[in-house]
């Protein structure tokens, strides 16, 4: 019974996974086909693969430097956003007053305003501060926009940690800070991993703000790829190649974080 149940589960999961991945696999195939084959009816699975477009994107069109820019923005955002957000989330999760909910809710309100409305004032502000085309502006914008989400996500992990754990630590002589640092924080490690991952994705994939706030020195990959949105069929192959390449860093990051997730699980036993 048990193994059979496991096998069925695995088959179903694999099938679902495959269907889920079809659009990406199709994009991958398009990136290694000539446009005439890429959109043929019925779809061709046997063709002469070409790495021409990948070569063109990463070497001839210089996407590698945009990748570096994207990584700097994403890395900077994680390094600022996650620590700040985690602190605030812990504060919120352990505050009993009504103000906490109000604060949390008003933070969320910022996230509810369509971002396109923030774009114009953001541009004006960045110009005023002469911060157009700098990493700093882009990172600050990403951190600020990302904070409500980071705080709320981390808070939901802190809420799961019994208050008794902090109290026990404080009875043992820790102050609030030490209790947080040595006792509570290790138990929410999966949360930290997940939060970093989403912060990274948000900053790394951001398009609108990157379009407005970056220039030739700091242009990020999504902006570079979107530059090939159309008007020539070849551009589609180029953006497909870019789209496949741009996925690699977050996928690697996801793999790293996954390991952490599993480790976090074993540490989670502390909670019992």
């Amino acid at each position: 019974m048990k193994p059979r149940y496991q096998a069925t589960l695995l088959v179903l999961l694999s099938l679902f996974t495959f269907i889920n991945l079809v659009p990406i696999l199709w994009g991958l195939l398009i990136s290694i086909k000539q446009p005439a084959d890429a959109f043929s009816i019925p779809p061709t699975l046997i063709f002469e693969p070409t790495l021409l477009f990948h070569w063109e994107v990463w070497v001839e069109r210089g996407f590698f430097s945009f990748l570096i820019n994207s990584l700097i923005v994403a890395g900077g955002t994680i390094c600022i956003s996650v620590p700040l957000g985690t602190l605030a989330a812990y504060g919120l999760a352990r505050t009993k007053t009504k103000h906490a909910s109000t604060l949390l809710f008003s933070l969320l309100a910022i996230r509810m305003l369509p971002q396109i409305l923030l774009a114009i004032p953001f541009f004006v502000m960045a110009r005023y501060l002469s911060l157009i085309d700098t990493y700093l502006m882009m990172i600050l914008a990403m951190v600020a926009i990302n904070q409500p989400f980071t705080i709320w996500l981390m808070r939901s992990f802190f809420v799961d940690v019994p208050v008794e754990l902090d109290e026990a630590a404080m009875i043992d002589g820790c102050n609030r800070w030490l209790a947080f640092w040595h006792v509570v924080l290790p138990t929410v490690r999966p949360g930290l991993a997940v939060t970093s991952l989403f912060s990274m994705l948000l900053a790394y994939n951001e398009f609108l703000f990157a379009l407005i706030l970056t220039g030739s020195r700091t242009k990020t990959l999504p902006v570079a790829i979107a530059e090939y949105g159309g008007e020539d069929i070849n551009y589609w192959s180029i953006s497909a190649a870019g789209a496949i390449g741009i996925m690699l860093p977050p996928v690697i990051f996801t793999i790293l974080v996954q390991r952490h997730l599993i480790r976090g699980l074993t540490f989670g036993a502390v909670k019992g």
Binding site: L153, A243, P250
Partner: protein, 289 residues
């Protein structure tokens, strides 16, 4: 408790950064909503609540709001069910979990601008993958992007494809933080899998479910990139969401004042919904919020 002092200190840095960076953009957007402000002209004049009353008396506003509710409701519900099912399946599965969860997460990693193009290549008439495959078998499928009903369906599927992995991962991470002893105890007591799910797992996951549903509702309201690429709100107004409409007013008609008012209205609608959601969850169990 005399605790709130140090707790505020924890929050201070974050609040400071948000205030410094977002204060000006956020309030200027709200400010402009009370003005006649057209990017093409030099003059901006105070309009009071005109922008708001004009929008509220407009048929198109209500159509787009209705579309938004329908698309958001359907896609968030679908994502939650699929994401939860997948998270539970992964939790129950003993082999290949890491690989499967990684692969299923990939759609969420795709850059939104590109995600739209990927999906377009699936759904576009005739030479999109779905059509091209079916035509190979001499089946002529419906017009995914051009028929008002199917266009809604396609857009919902697109949003689900992109964001279901987010729910899956957060819920799966939540499951992992669980106290397994409780589950074991219930299992030994003879609880069926459904009972386990309904009485133990779901209540324990309530804060996280609340979190993902609220976040997704908020974000789906601003759902933009995919629809923009796939149907651009068409055909007619069939898939025009409120954000797409905001974009049209603000960035294409360049009426920043009116667009800001629409943005503020969106904010109010979403705030009410999220507040209702929180209230609903709170009523069911105080620990949720």
């Amino acid at each position: 408790m005399g605790e709130s002092g140090p707790m505020w200190l924890f929050m201070a840095p974050s609040v400071l950064v948000i205030a410094l960076v977002l204060f000006y953009p956020f309030f200027s957007a709200v400010y402009y909503s009370f003005f006649n402000y057209y990017l093409g002209s030099q003059a901006i004049t105070f309009a009071g609540l005109d922008n708001y009353t004009n929008l509220l008396s407009e048929e198109r506003f209500w159509i787009t709001l209705g579309n938004t509710f329908f698309i958001v409701g359907a896609s968030v519900a679908l994502q939650l069910v699929l994401g939860l099912a997948l998270a539970l399946a992964l939790y129950a599965c003993t082999r290949g979990v890491r690989l499967i969860s990684l692969l299923n997460f990939l759609p969420h990693v795709v850059t939104p601008v590109v995600g739209g193009i990927f999906l377009k290549w699936m759904f576009v008439g005739r030479w999109g993958l779905i059509d091209a495959t079916l035509i190979g078998f001499n089946i002529f499928p419906p017009d995914w992007l051009g028929d008002p009903g199917w266009a809604k369906f396609t857009v919902i599927m697109a949003d689900t494809w992109k964001f279901m992995p987010f729910l899956m991962l957060v819920l799966y991470a939540g499951l992992q933080a669980f106290d397994t002893a409780l589950l074991e105890a219930a299992r030994i007591d003879g609880a069926s899998p459904w009972q386990l799910l309904w009485y133990i797992i779901l209540p324990m996951m309530k804060p996280l479910i609340l979190f993902v549903v609220a976040i997704r509702t908020m974000d789906a309201f601003r759902f933009f990139d995919l629809i923009y690429v796939l149907t651009n709100g068409g055909p007619g107004t069939a898939t025009e969401t409120i954000t797409l409409y905001t974009y049209q007013i603000g960035f294409r008609l360049l009426e920043v004042g009116r667009a800001s008012a629409l943005g503020v209205l969106t904010l109010i609608v979403v705030a009410i919904m999220v507040a209702a959601l929180i209230w609903f969850m709170q009523r069911r169990g105080r620990e949720a919020f």
